[in-house]
């Protein structure tokens, strides 16, 4: 394309533009003027036409044409623009016209020219040949067209004026053009000279001469600004050049100091540049050695690895974190992670390879170690005897060990990824605990859980919060404690027997007192019966009451001992701690050392907790025995004594309490404090006292099981225990048990029953091997109205029953007898009469044999020793049942 000088462009643009502009203005103005003139003329003509139509209507209706003709002549005469005017009737006959020659002729229907419709029958015709504007309009009254009015207007004046405008416009346009040529020429000369100087300066800058002198052009603002811009540009380029050099230096340093090995190779793999790290990874002595080498020829481990690499990079043009083994200069292998880009040219050929390598030998070694460790941990988990299951936030199984497989029969493949409640529905009962653990992040253990009601195995179920990868999950462990529980029960029993042993000395002393009272009074009775003074009824009454009181005490003592020593399953029922404390106090009345003063502070209201009554009393008794020992046998003789305080208080859980006792889960607890003023202990000792077999007592005086058992029992009853002690000051054990809200319930320890003597009649059979007891029972039953048969053993009893079964209303049957036991005798009697009514009597209610016989159909049980009231009432109930 041909280039022209700037001044040529300036002159051409300066002249053509005014010329075109002038022509456009003249053309536009002429057109607008013509339209304006014609519009004005039309408006003028329309006024005349409408006025005429309006004025002539009456004359047309009344056919009064003479004034009409005169009226038209007058209009033409008075208006220069009006050449002629015509009025026709509705048939087109001209009734009046400025040109009288036209009267009676028919009005031309379509005049020659351009038509413009104006609406309502009115139209305008422009006849340029005649320079006339013809307006035709109907004369309408109402909806009746009476005729037409046609007005001929002259356009000569307007057209003449238009021609003058166009002529003058052309002259002005030519003048403007000439002026523009002159202006363009001088302007071009003025502008191109400084531009030439700027071009010279720009050439210098392009050669790197940034200090070149920039010419100034003060009179043209744009050129002046251009000069300044050129100067700023030169400065900016110089600055950028410097920054580029700095940047190159910086990146060169990065290149040199990078830990990763960086390399650039040409399209054939010939190394062009490498950094020191690259040399170090490949153990190359110098850069020169490597630069002589080919990336693909000498470094790859083997041909197969090279082929694989080329295949991978050819796919996408790059590889990222591509692991491979390279061969060092000393021929040793090194595992690296390679990231490499293939740079291609426009023709698709490979221009070069750019990449970096990272030595990951250590990382690979660590990964192997992690895998090994993971396998190791998995093996531990798998080899655990306990079922271990981990759940994610949605209770979906994420870990399922071998024990879980064994226990549930579900393989880990089937379990992992499914909700635990779907695969082991029985776990649904723990859903609430699982959800709680997820949010509270506190472990929870449920003791002695049975998976089903009739299951034989017991489990401790422990829930651990499991937070991994930001997900709140739960780990669930099931420990089969069936065997452990059995051993614990045995251990507990042993410990109870130890307690009984501890108490035995006191009990024996007390029992001797009772026997002394009974035997003493009996000997007194015997003596007085045979004395000459005789024996009054009131004296007999008094002696008998003393013996009865002593006997009752003996009964209580035996009952307590039996209760304490019996074996049983834990049975959680509402227990009033006040009654338990009272009961323990009663046990201790004669067994605790007399040097110890016992203070009891009970709660003002019933202190209900959910507990096993026997276990609870065992706990309290153990704590009391420990305290007594701390104030007696653990001191030297002569320093025995102190105060044992048992107090019950209600504790409401608040933030402070929660902080001190994180295991507190409920809102309120009953606290039983057992305090002594004994030897006390230091913190180190206090930390171990609940450990099994830990004792500070002398050998033979303690087994170290008492507090361990206390701890276990309290935990199983969802409580906890703490201890505060100072050496020489004494100790306080606080037992916290969740408060049970109950009203109007008779606590389990309220066993007292008011018995009344109930009389009866009919034949009853008494079977007991003990002559005294049998005789006493016979006497009591006869005394309250019955006829009594007696038998000294089971076999004899059965025979007697066989003989008189139709008459015998009830049988009092002893449990343990020679020849034939109570159980066998009952079974024989039942064969004789399936409806036999047997009242079983024994000194030990908790005996398993008693339970068995009761299960076979014996009506009820009577605890020995019985009284006239209890025997009479129970026998009556059995007979009437």
């Amino acid at each position: 394309m041909t280039s022209f000088r700037l001044r040529t462009y300036l002159i051409v643009y300066c002249t053509i533009i005014p010329l075109l502009l002038t022509a456009a203005i003249i053309s536009l103005y002429s057109s607008r003027f013509k339209d304006y003139a014609i519009d004005n003329l039309i408006a003028y003509g329309e006024v005349i036409t409408r006025n005429t139509a309006f004025s002539v209507a009456d004359d047309l209706i009344t056919e009064n044409y003479a004034p009409l003709q005169e009226f038209l002549q007058d209009i033409v005469f008075r208006n220069d623009e009006v050449d002629a005017i015509q009025i026709s009737d509705s048939q087109g006959m001209i009734l009046a016209a400025s040109d009288v020659k036209l009267l009676g002729s028919v009005m031309e229907t379509e005049p020659v020219g351009k038509y413009i419709t104006r609406g309502e029958g009115e139209y305008v015709c422009i006849d340029y040949d005649q320079a006339q504007l013809i307006i035709t309009a109907p004369i309408v009254v109402g909806k009746i067209e009476l005729g037409k009015t046609r007005v001929f207007l002259s356009m000569r004046a307007s057209l003449s004026h238009l021609h003058a405008i166009q002529r003058n416009g052309v002259i002005i346009g030519l003048c403007c053009w000439l002026f523009a040529v002159a202006i363009g020429y001088f302007l071009a000369r003025y502008l191109t000279a400084p531009l030439q100087r700027y071009m010279t300066a720009a050439d210098s800058i392009s050669r790197g001469e940034f200090n070149v002198q920039i010419p100034e052009s003060r009179w043209v603002l744009e050129l002046d600004r251009f000069g300044h811009t050129l100067k700023a540009m030169a400065s900016a380029i110089a600055s950028r050049e410097q920054k580029l050099q700095d940047s190159e230096k910086k990146f060169r340093q990065l290149f040199e100091r990078a830990i990763e090995g960086i390399f650039v190779a040409d399209g054939k793999g010939q190394l062009l540049d490498v950094n020191p790290a690259f040399l170090q990874i490949l153990s190359a002595a110098s850069r020169g050695i490597l630069l002589d080498q080919n990336l693909f020829a000498n470094i790859f481990e083997n041909e197969e690895a090279l082929a694989h690499f080329k295949e991978e990079i050819a796919k996408n043009g790059f590889v990222k974190d591509y692991e491979l083994t390279l061969i060092r200069s000393d021929s040793s292998p090194v595992i690296v992670s390679l990231t490499c880009h293939m740079v291609k040219g426009d023709d698709g050929s490979i221009m070069k390879y750019e990449g970096l390598i990272r030595d990951i030998s250590v990382q690979k070694s660590a990964e192997k170690e992690i895998v090994r460790m993971r396998n190791y941990l998995n093996n531990i988990i798998e080899s655990m005897p306990s079922m271990l299951v981990t759940l994610d936030a949605d209770s979906i199984v994420t870990q399922w060990n071998s024990a879980a497989c064994r226990l549930t029969g579900i393989s880990s493949r089937d379990a992992i990824g499914r909700k635990i409640y779907e695969i082991v529905p029985i776990f649904s009962k723990y859903s609430q605990q699982v959800d709680t653990i997820k949010y509270q992040h506190r472990p929870l253990t449920l003791y002695r859980e049975k998976m089903t009601e009739d299951a034989e195995h017991l489990y401790n179920v422990t829930f651990f919060p499991l937070i991994a990868n930001g997900v709140n999950g739960v780990a669930l462990r099931l420990d089969d404690i069936t065997e452990l529980d059995l051993k614990e029960q045995q251990l507990r029993q042993a410990q109870k027997m130890e307690s009984v042993g501890t108490l035995a000395g006191g009990l024996a002393h007390d029992f001797n007192n009772v026997l002394a009272a009974i035997l003493g009074n009996l000997s007194l009775l015997k003596y007085k019966i045979h004395s000459p003074l005789g024996l009054s009824v009131s004296e007999i009454q008094e002696y008998l009451e003393r013996m009865e009181t002593a006997g009752s005490r003996a009964v209580d003592m035996v009952r307590q001992l039996l209760t304490l020593s019996r074996r049983h399953q834990m049975d959680l029922v509402p227990v009033d701690l006040n009654l338990s404390v009272k009961h323990v106090r009663k046990i201790g009345e004669n067994t605790f050392d007399k040097s110890v003063q016992v203070d009891i502070h009970l709660a003002e209201c019933p202190a209900y907790v959910l507990a096993d009554i026997t276990e609870m009393e065992q706990v309290l008794l153990n704590l009391c025995i420990n305290s007594i020992h701390a104030m007696t046998i653990m001191r030297e003789e002569g320093f025995w004594g102190g105060t044992l305080t048992i107090a019950i208080d209600k504790v409401v859980v608040d933030q402070l309490f929660q902080k001190r006792h994180p295991e507190a889960m409920g809102c309120a607890y009953w606290k039983v404090s057992v305090s002594d003023t004994g030897v006390g202990m230091d913190t180190k000792t206090a930390a171990k006292i609940f450990d099994p077999f830990f004792t500070t007592k002398e050998q033979g005086k303690g087994t170290g099981l008492g507090l361990a058992m206390v701890y276990n029992i309290i935990r199983q009853e969802h409580g906890f225990i703490d201890v505060y002690s100072e050496p020489g000051q004494g100790s306080t054990f606080n037992v916290y048990l969740p408060l049970l809200e109950r009203e109007g319930v008779e606590p389990a320890s309220a066993r007292d029953t008011l018995l009344a003597i109930s009389r009866g009649d009919g034949l009853v059979l008494v079977v007991d091997d003990d002559d005294i007891v049998r005789k006493m029972a016979e006497d009591i039953l006869q005394a309250v109205g019955y006829t009594v048969l007696t038998a000294s053993n089971g076999k004899e009893g059965v025979e007697m029953y066989r003989q008189y079964n139709t008459s015998i209303k009830g049988v009092l049957l002893d449990m343990a007898m020679p020849v034939m036991s109570g159980r066998e005798a009952f079974m024989e009697m039942k064969q004789i009469n399936s409806e036999v009514k047997v009242l079983l009597a024994s000194g030990f209610r908790q005996d398993e044999r008693v339970e068995e016989i009761l299960g076979l159909g014996v009506k009820t049980f009577l605890q020995k020793p019985y009284t006239i009231s209890s025997l009479a009432l129970t026998m009556k109930q059995v007979i009437e049942s």
Binding site: A57, D58, T62, E63, Q73, F77, V141
Partner: protein, 290 residues
Amino acid sequence: MDTMFCRSAGILGMLLVIFVFIVPMPCPAQGTLNANIIKFGIFPYKSPKTIIEMYGPIATHLEKKLGKKIKISSTLDANSFLEKARDGEYDLLLLPALPYYKLRPSGYRVIAQGTPSFYGGAIVRMDSEIMSVEQLKGKKVAAIGDFAYAGYYFLLSQLEAKGVNPQKEVEFQFLGKVDTIIYGVINKKYDAGLLRLDALDLHDFIRIREQVRIITRSPEIPQFPFVVKNSMDKSTITAIQETLSALAPDKPEALEILKSMQVKKIVVATDADYDPFFEQIKDTDYFGTP
């Protein structure tokens, strides 16, 4: 001076041209142009434009039904109309009963009439002291014209009956138009006004009607008769009668035509239908002999 002279000469020339060409020229509108045109002359009791507005629709309707051009024509005054009618210029006429009474001997006959009949009456302002006809004595009374029975003549006999000489003791002013009379009375230019009373029911006068009181009314006056030349052929007459009587008010188009003419229906009629009215007025001196 020259210009003035030229302009005067121009005007003079123009007048000369008018005199030469127009005056001797036969009027193109005179007489029936051809047999396909029926010239419908309407008595000039209203302005020409109002006449066209009122009777244009019926003319258009007749054109459609008869297949002939109906050209409405009127005159500037009543005498001109009667003169032209006597000259036989109109084929079909609509005029008040009284002018027809005078025109009938010239060879015309009634073929239809509008219904219902109407009444003339004298109105005064509501606050006027004039309560009866005799109180008009010495008063200024606006009337339609000396051709109008409802708008003038009916009162003359009533005045005479009350002993008032209408020619001497009452000052009548002929205004020609109903609205001029009503507004003249309202604006106290006249003490009373004479007009067709059904004019007060027109929409324009609904509000004003409450400001005037009617002190007397004329006997029942039949509506304007449609009259034709006796020479008109029977088939055309029958066609006109059928067309007019077929205008039922329940048809929207017909209703518009009837409302425009201010009648409720048009029925076929004959001269006999107007004879009782003519009998009633023939004895008065005011109409002269037909």
